[in-house]
Structure formats: C-alpha cells, structure tokens
C-alpha cells in the first residue's frame, strides 16, 4: 500500500509531515465501572504502533474489547491506564482538532439532511463556507460513486449506499486517520465484498491511515496491511499478522496467499480462546 502522500492534508495544524507513527498505543488498559458491581475489564496492557498510511484491522471474539480499543483511540472513552497518541497529540487533543474521521456499524446519517448535507455536516462544524462545502461534498460523492443521489434522503438509499455516504462523510474533511467500527457488519455478503473493494480503493487513493474493527477474518485479511488479533476479554494482543497481498482486487480473494493468511489469523484466534 502506498505511503502517506504528505502534502495537501488539512490535518488540524499538527505535525502531519513528521516521522512519528499515526497512532501510538502504549500500555493501555480499560476497566469499566471500576470498584462497582458492573466492573468489566475490557482491554489489558495493549501496545500498538500504527504507521502513517497503514491499514490495520482489529479482530477478536465478540466482547473482546476491540470496539473499546477503537473508542480509546477516538477518545470517545478514556483509558484507565496507559497513553494514546494520535498524530503526535494526545487522543483528546486529536479529537478536539478533529484529526480523524469515524464510521460506525449504523451509518448514523441524519434523516432530516440530504446525502449532500450529511457529508457537509463535519465541514459546517469546521466553519467551511457554503461554496467550499458543496464542492467538497460533490468530490466525496464522486469518490464513493453516489453522484446521482446527492439530493436524496438517507431512507431512500440501500444499506450499502448509506454506509458509503457515512464513509464519504468521515473522509470529507480529509482526516489523516479513519476509524471504523464494523461499518459493513449489517450488510449482506455480496454488498460487503463490494464495499471492501471500494474502501480499499478509497484508502489507496487518499493515503489515509485506517483502523478497522471487524469480526470477519476474510474481511480483515483482504483490507489490511496488518491484522491485530485480540484475545477474549480482557482484550490483549495475541499476535499481529502481516499481510502482503500487494494491490488488491476481486481475484485476490482466490489466491493461495489470501487463504494462507486467513488460516493464520484463524489459528491465532483459536489459540487465544
């Protein structure tokens, strides 16, 4: 996968061109409701370094804390111990600077906004003027191939199209980092494979660093430069599988290397249980 393109990013004023990792997770643990009856240790002692332009998947059994790990990077929740650094800033500062885009399992589109207006929302919040917002939204719609649906409302779109809008929205302000929590989890298999190819193409085109939570092994292998395998709760990193498949397309799914990596991830998951 191509490295970061460097110039042209609107990265919240941080040292984007610097040599540091995109994400640095060091000794991070998360305990929910500490000392109370509902105490749950979700993540334990995770160290992870993600390079710029890398595509990383987090995979593990359900309830293993992979979503929590993603939320820690996004600063949607705070770690109990350890530190999270995003593009050289604390996770909190990175969130305040809007240094990442995020997509969820539910598209989270606003029913009262058209597709274009949904994509414009993060730009509105950053104070972009109307002309600039509209031209960027049009650009993003082209990227996710939904130009013909600009003025439609979300409910007029299929689930796959809604997710494409959500990804376009997440990428609209050109964030250096894209965080995704099972964005294709609710889609059927055919749509899902199509969306994976689309996402792959988009990340190649933009050079965005991506962290992708999934429970699908083929999905993780197809998309990623590295697959991070987590243990059952409390989530710890069992192993990191390096995937070198080169440029990916639908034929990639039938190569021996693809199956070999799937087996490798599967065995790591089994070994952790």
């Amino acid at each position: 996968m191509s490295g970061p393109s460097g110039g042209g990013r609107v990265g919240g004023g941080g040292p984007v061109g610097g040599g540091g990792p995109a994400v640095l997770v060091a000794g991070v643990s998360k305990v929910f409701n500490p000392g109370r009856t509902g105490q749950v240790e979700a993540v334990r002692g995770v160290d992870l370094e993600i390079e710029r332009g890398e595509f990383i998947s987090l995979i593990g059994p359900s309830g293993c804390g992979k979503s929590t790990l993603l939320r820690l990077v996004a600063n949607l929740t705070d770690p109990t111990s350890g530190t999270v650094i995003v593009n050289g800033k604390t996770a909190r500062q990175a969130r305040l600077d809007q240094a990442y885009g995020m997509a969820f399992q539910q598209s989270g589109l606003f029913e009262w906004r058209t597709v274009t207006k949904n994509i414009e929302l993060p730009l509105e919040l950053r104070g972009w003027d109307r002309v600039r917002r509209q031209s960027r939204a049009a650009e993003m719609l082209k990227l996710v191939k939904l130009e013909d649906f600009a003025d439609h409302h979300p409910w007029e779109l299929s689930g796959g199209m809604q997710q494409r809008v959500a990804i376009a929205r997440a990428l609209a302000f050109d964030p250096p980092l894209l965080l995704m929590d099972e964005p294709f989890g609710a889609l059927d298999e055919m749509t899902r494979e199509h969306m994976q190819a689309e996402l792959n193409r988009i990340c190649e085109a933009t050079g965005t660093t991506a962290v992708f939570v999934t429970h699908s092994i083929p999905e993780a292998v197809f998309l990623s430069d590295r697959v991070v395998v987590l243990s059952p709760r409390p989530g710890r990193i069992v192993t990191v599988v390096e995937v070198e498949l080169g440029a990916r397309n639908d034929d990639t799914r039938e190569t021996p290397e693809f199956f070999k990596k799937i087996t490798e991830v599967r065995e790591a998951l089994r070994g952790s249980a």
Partner: protein, 275 residues
C-alpha cells in the same frame, strides 16, 4: 401544483391526470364509506321507527345544522378559540418543560412520575373548582383546562425526542468535538420535531374535546358544549346532535391543521411513511 399543466405537453397532461387519479383513489374510499354509513343510519332510523331521543336521522340533524347555522358558527368560534389558546399555552409550557427536563437528567427523572400521576387524575373534574376560582364571565377556566390536558402528551414527546437520540449520532458528534449547543441545534431539535408532532396530533384533538366538555360543568355558557347540554335538556335532540357534529368537525379541523404543519416543518417524516 404543476405549472406546466396548462401548456399542453402530452406527458405533462398525462402525469397531472395520473396524480389526480391517485388522489381520487386515496380520497374516494373513505368518502364512499362515510356516505354509506349515513345512508344506512337514515334507513335504519326510518325502517325501525327509532325514537328521536334515542337516535335522530341524519336528515333531521342536517336540517338543524342548516337552520342553526349562525348559532353553530358562533359557538364553534368560541370553542375553537378556547381550544386554540389552551393548546398554544400548553405547547409553550410542554416544549419549555421538555427542554428543561432534557437538559437536567435528574429533573426529567423527577418530573416524569409526577407528570404521569397528574395525567392519571380525571383532570376534567377540576373544572368546577376552576370555575369558582375565576368569575363566571371568565373564559380562563376552560382554557386552563385545555392547557393542562394537552401539556402531558406534548411534554412527554418533546422530552423523548430531545433525549432519545441514538448512540451512533451522539458518538459521531462527540468525534467532531461538537459543543452541547451545536448538538442541540443540529441533532436534538431536528430529532425531536417528529416526536413533538406526534404529541401535537394527540393534543390537537384533545384540546377540542376538553374545550367542549369543560362547559358541561358550568362557567361561561357560549360554546359548543353548553349548546349540546341545553338542547338535550330541552328535548331538542336534532339540535344537540347538530352541535355534536360541529364539535367533530372542529376536532377534525384542528387535527388536519396539525398534519399540514407537520408536513411543512417535518418534511422528511411524512415522505418516509408514504414509501
């Protein structure tokens, strides 16, 4: 609706005809059913020789409506004003209370049980007490009654709409580092609008019912309710039914205006339902 309708393009005429046909198809069945019911009612009363104090025929009611037109219109205007003033006051109070209760979660948890308990009281029973609190020429007791009754559905739905934003949208706004004020403006208020109209649709019908029934318990006697009572007690059953019919029409009018307002203010909601 279609500005090109008259300009003669074949396809435009066709589409206009199509939309007219669609409208007729959706409006016709309820009209047919309604007319059928009236005919059946008329025949039933005539064939079975039902006494007018039990059930007057629609023709007699219609006759009374025609001969009491100005009286009915005046009473409907009075009751309509009472219902409207009470409804607007209840709307302001309900939305205001909902907004405050959504801002402070403990306040919401505190007020909901109280609101539910108050709603369980047959509030209409308070009218005689209100009548004693104000002078006999005051319209306030009836309007106050309407306000109290419509408050509950408006308050509950506003609160629900402002607070029950799904988690994904909340997290998304958090990821954008949006301020609480921005979240309110861009997410909570638009999210609450369809809920508010759900409450308003209930409240609009309730407001007319409350305004009519409040007059049964004394107070100023110039609206539809008091005319129903006085006509019935004078054995003028056709006239009583004429005023009942006017009350129905007034309630429907309130409801339809609310639906129209919903289409204007929540354009994404009705469209979704019709799909």
């Amino acid at each position: 609706m279609n500005p090109s309708a008259g300009s003669g393009a074949g396809s435009a005429v066709g589409s206009v005809l199509g939309s007219v046909a669609r409208r007729v198809r959706s409006v016709l069945p309820p009209i047919v059913v309604g007319v059928g019911l009236l005919v059946a009612w008329q025949l039933f009363v005539q064939v079975r020789h039902i006494k007018p104090y039990l059930l007057p025929p629609p023709s007699a009611i219609w006759h009374q409506i025609a001969s009491n037109r100005s009286g009915i219109l005046h009473a409907a205007r009075v009751t309509g004003t009472n219902a409207l003033v009470g409804l607007l006051a209840g709307l302001v109070l309900g939305v205001g209370a909902g907004a405050v209760a959504s801002r402070f979660r403990w306040l919401g948890e505190l007020t909901i049980p109280v609101a539910v308990a108050v709603n369980a009281i047959p509030i209409i029973a308070l009218v005689p007490i209100f009548n004693n609190m104000f002078s006999t020429t005051s319209a306030i007791p009836r309007r106050l009654m309407v306000t109290i009754i419509v408050f509950f559905p408006i308050f509950m739905n506003t609160l629900r709409g402002l607070t029950q934003v799904d988690a994904t949208k909340e997290e998304l706004m958090r990821s954008y580092a949006a301020s609480p004020g921005t979240v309110l403006r861009k997410v909570r208020v638009p999210h609450a609008l369809p809920f508010l109209f759900t409450g308003l649709k209930i409240a609009s019908s309730l407001s007319v019912i409350a305004a009519v029934v409040a007059e049964y318990f004394g107070g100023l006697q110039d609206g539809l309710g008091s005319h129903i009572v006085s006509a019935a007690s004078n054995s003028a059953y056709g006239r009583a039914w004429a005023f009942v019919a006017a009350s129905c029409a007034l309630g429907l009018a309130f409801y339809f205006v609310t639906i129209l307002a919903e289409r204007v203010f929540v354009p994404w909601q009705p469209a979704r339902r019709s799909r």
